[in-house]
Symmetry: C2
């Protein structure tokens, strides 16, 4: 497989950094081709702005990104990441959960690389989405370090269920342009991790990665599969009994 | 009131930019003091890194931010925003929904300004949270432009219910350090907005802002209010009948 690792942590000696190293080593040992986008080391520009587009006529920001994509005038750092995504069979995103989401620098990778025209259409135009799209046939998986304890991220936990906190990323960012999303690899209670516990976590990650090709993706519902009506609402009676909220969009 | 407007859009002539101008004008007309953090215009640094901290001994990134906070060595741009938050009675966040979250530059405002020590403790230490904390007594409201149609963000909509998509921001970022969160002001279908529709939206926003002091916040449950057990799970029987997922954390 061709595996793209997108990694964001300001400190290489962090748990997130160490797990990225474990992943790259294991994937290469298993014979895969691996490329790493180390966003901090690359000095990745986080904020999307019109400097990304070159000369375009369009004044609407989103449509301008689409015009730049079509004209080939997106800045070289963005085009390089789009090319890596097209090269990859599997994409891993390694990051710490900061304020219940990605670090800004990784959100900036999403905002800038997944441009109009490449990853989505605008106003009902032709780019398909949710289970179809430019990245269809690829698989993605999150590897996330979370400071708090698992119970506070459980079904009744005060922070909200972690699978719901990750839905805007897993469904909204990864599944939207067509990738199948594998269950996330989550590590809780990461403020202080001693070496014994680190060894256990690293072993778990190696095992997960060695079995990557056999892992079943989360069964998000494709937009084009007949589950949604013309208003893009889940059609009556399609839900798994007891499902609700984001869970409606997972098939049984 | 003292109102802090935090605003993120790369184009001043965008709908988000125009609505920020409407808000500032209306708030001033109503006699409030207004300060604006225009993140793009300020050249706000989005990525959190160790350059933010000055000289600290701590190697753990999160704990280092707390040490820098206590030692007063956080970079001046961060300290200025913390001071604005303490000055404000009300905080408005104006942004477009990009990939189901904030633009990276605003996530970077959150990541960098809400440091350990200021907005949260680490590992069970003393800073209270969820309905209590450094920003208690303040109110916050989102003003969000959303490209897609309202139906696709409804209870059964393919993108997920918008109140759930915003939960990590409203509950996880704003309520966590103590702010009461007012219902968001949302504008859907924003790719092309003609001048008649803009006038209607602007009128709605002016009306909302003029009634701001009478608005009731979302009834998120405080961590210290007796609703949660020692594992920080909602205690049995506390839920509003029919509530689930993130909705468990809203009182009836």
């Amino acid at each position: 497989m061709n595996v793209l690792v997108v990694y964001a942590h300001p400190k290489p000696d962090s748990l997130t950094g160490a797990l990225k190293d474990v992943a790259v080593e294991q994937l290469r040992a298993d014979g895969h081709e691996v490329r790493v986008s180390d966003l901090y080391a690359m000095g990745w520009k986080a904020q999307a702005d019109t400097d990304d587009f070159g000369a375009v006529d369009e004044s609407n920001f989103m449509l301008a990104s689409g015009e730049a994509y079509r004209a080939g005038t997106l800045s070289p750092d963005i085009r390089a990441e789009q090319e890596k995504l097209l090269w990859a069979d599997t994409v891993l995103l390694h990051f710490p959960l900061w304020w219940f989401g990605m670090p800004a620098i990784m959100k900036g990778w999403v905002d800038r690389v997944l441009t109009c025209g490449f990853a989505y259409g605008a106003g009902g135009t032709a780019v398909p989405r949710y289970g179809a799209g430019v990245l269809a046939g690829r698989r993605a998986m999150l590897v996330v370090s979370i400071g708090g304890k698992e119970s506070s991220y459980s079904d009744r936990g005060i922070n909200g269920p972690v699978e719901d906190l990750l839905f805007p990323i897993q469904h909204g960012i990864l599944y939207y342009p067509g990738m199948d999303v594998l269950p996330p690899f989550l590590v809780h209670g990461t403020i202080r991790v001693d070496s014994d516990r680190f060894d256990d976590i690293a072993d778990d990650l190696r095992e997960r990665l060695s079995g990557l090709e056999k892992l079943e993706p989360i069964r998000y519902r494709p937009q084009g599969g007949g589950d949604y009506d013309r208003s893009l609402r889940l059609a009556a009676g399609r839900e798994v009994p007891g499902a609700n909220g984001f869970g409606l969009h997972v098939a049984g």
